[in-house]
Symmetry: C2
Subunit: 368 residues, 2 copies
């Protein structure tokens, strides 16, 4: 198992030694949103800042409406992961000088639609000008009562869930940036993947509020499913056994995308551009009550498998199971400097660690 | 008086139509920090996001320690302007790939020093990579009791104050970017201005807490003194009569800088790079009690003049007084696209509107 996660090491390097708050519930990297007890009350504030930078620079996000939607959604999704009630968001927009009305209008359409969807009002913002656009925000949420949930707290025996089918973020990235990826995959088709409906992941705020009542740990999949599992297992000193085969975990679009690109379905869980679902754990004794509460709310969570004592992630496939070095998957994208073709090549090289999984998935298309 | 302020029009254009919160106390542009009532409590949350972008791109901020200090200070200063108690800050850092340890170390030194100074802990953050660096943050503060203060609420008859001597921000900008400015000023000396001590403006948190108890309106001078007065007069439908001559309002460094650059002292109030003092108003009947409370805290506020019914700003000089079109001053920097030399030329052209002021100040050096 890979020891050092480059992103975690960077965060440590940037944050180590800076003053922390005695009111803060979570330690560094231990929660999707920072949790702060408000003195003299039983309230806990949830605070999260997240910015859309690389997604714009790499050309992954070109549509201004998508950029606006995502600037709100990435922050709302972190409120969802701690089950907080949305209070508001401030926006930080860096726009190229002379940005036209059409672009601004579409950007605002996306921001406004997301804010309406999440009942997350815009409190204010800051606007700056630079040739390099970036759009960020800081979302504020409130937890008025009940238990808190962070990334830390799961134990062997807990059940592992996702809030919904996975892989939409990878499918979108394949469709937008995937020509290199399709070339890198042996025997890849020329059709490639194209997304019919626009990519609009939804922050799982209502689901997160239920998870907080029953769950033991929760994190959103903003960096992809395998990165999420990897971060959770490191923080909790546990492992995850994913019992259901990857093709049963994917959205239809993600399955289609994997087939078109002729990559094994598990690769749709590996991309660093996530789907903004929640991955979470519920202690066994509370699982039935949790599933009842979810059903009452009209929500069917996706059972992934179980928390186990042995570190690492094992994936299921065709009745078999194999380990995958999720740490190596996480570091790979940084190591190839974001080159999608080299990323897919690298993932294919990681397959030996998941032998029994990959055997039947390459060439693809035979398993589902 | 100039009717349309380009920056305000931009903010309207970006914010109009986006969902707002019924819990928010202030309207758009009405407060340095957004004020949100926390449901079920008497608490008010203060939230502000501000990013260092143009200051880095223009070369004004080169020292990473200064960049770190300012990323915290610009946000803390807005908490000061609403008299909020600091709760924490989240940082949004966009760094060039491969940023070295020395740079990161100095950046953190600046961030850490400011956070310690303001008792403003770092709650978390987001890090991204781009060739174009920018460092921002979102500060959260709390108001537990007592009156609220925003930019709105002053009336004719109120007294006008600054939290301390002014012009340090302009002096710094002249020293860093001012060669063009010195060429533009007629008869300018060749010595120019250089700052002996590093530029480290301090957010006036303790002062802001006192101002909130007695004041009627408050705003920080992050965009310069004249821009601050202009914004306040537009929001309040009033005018300001500044009774003390500009040279009595400036820091020693700002006076030296004006003399070295041979520009009239009032120009040190005009620069769009501010000094992060507070400009605020106190109703006449509360002025004595306010000054007593300030003195008890070891603080001597600077009396600028009075709030008057007639719109616009008048500045005092050598026993005379003249109007200055502060709206035109604000728009000028955008109109010259940030060119410091053309900016100074433009300011000199605005002097006719303040004739009796500028007569004696050009050529400079004769007035103080």
């Amino acid at each position: 198992m890979t020891d050092v996660i480059l992103e975690n090491a960077l965060i440590e390097r940037l944050a180590r030694g800076l003053p922390r708050s005695p009111l803060q519930v979570n330690g560094l990297q231990e929660s999707d949103a920072e949790l702060v007890r408000l003195p003299g009350t039983s309230l806990v504030l949830a605070v999260k800042t997240d910015c859309i930078v690389e997604e714009i620079e790499s050309g992954l996000y070109k549509d201004p409406e998508l950029i606006g939607w995502m600037a709100v959604t990435v922050n709302a999704s972190d409120l969802a992961a701690v089950g907080a009630e949305p209070l508001g968001i401030v926006l930080a927009e860096t726009l190229p000088p002379g940005t036209g009305d059409e672009f601004v209008g579409a950007l605002k359409l996306g921001i406004g639609a997301a804010c309406e969807r999440y009942a997350l009002p815009v409190l204010g913002g800051d606007t700056n000008f630079s040739a390099h656009m970036q759009i960020g925000g800081c979302a504020i949420g409130l937890i008025r009562e009940g238990p808190l949930i962070t990334r830390v707290g799961c134990r062997p025996g807990d059940r592992l869930y996702a809030s919904g089918p996975l892989g939409a973020g990878s499918a979108f990235a394949f469709a937008e940036l995937g020509s290199g990826a399709r070339e890198a995959a042996p025997g890849a088709g020329v059709g490639g993947a194209s997304s019919a409906a626009p990519f609009r992941p939804v922050a799982r705020l209502a689901e997160g509020a239920i998870v907080r009542r029953f769950g033991s740990a929760c994190m959103d999949t903003s960096d992809g499913v395998l990165a999420t599992l990897d971060q959770l297992l490191r923080l909790n000193g546990v492992g995850f056994r994913v019992d259901r085969p990857p093709e049963e975990l994917l959205t239809r679009a993600a399955l289609v995308s994997a087939r078109a690109a002729r990559v094994p379905p598990w690769m749709m869980l590996a991309g660093p551009h996530g789907e903004f679902e929640l991955v979470f754990t519920v202690p066994g004794p509370r699982a039935a009550a949790f599933e009842d509460a979810a059903a009452q709310a009209g929500w069917l969570p996706l059972v992934l498998g179980d928390v186990v004592a042995e570190p690492g992630v094992t994936l299921a496939f065709d009745g078999g199971r194999g380990p995958l070095d999720t740490g190596a998957v996480r570091n790979l994208f940084a190591e190839v400097a974001g080159d999608v073709g080299r990323y897919v090549e690298g993932l294919l090289r990681l397959r030996p660690a998941a032998q029994r999984i990959s055997q039947a998935t390459t060439p693809a298309g035979t398993s589902t």
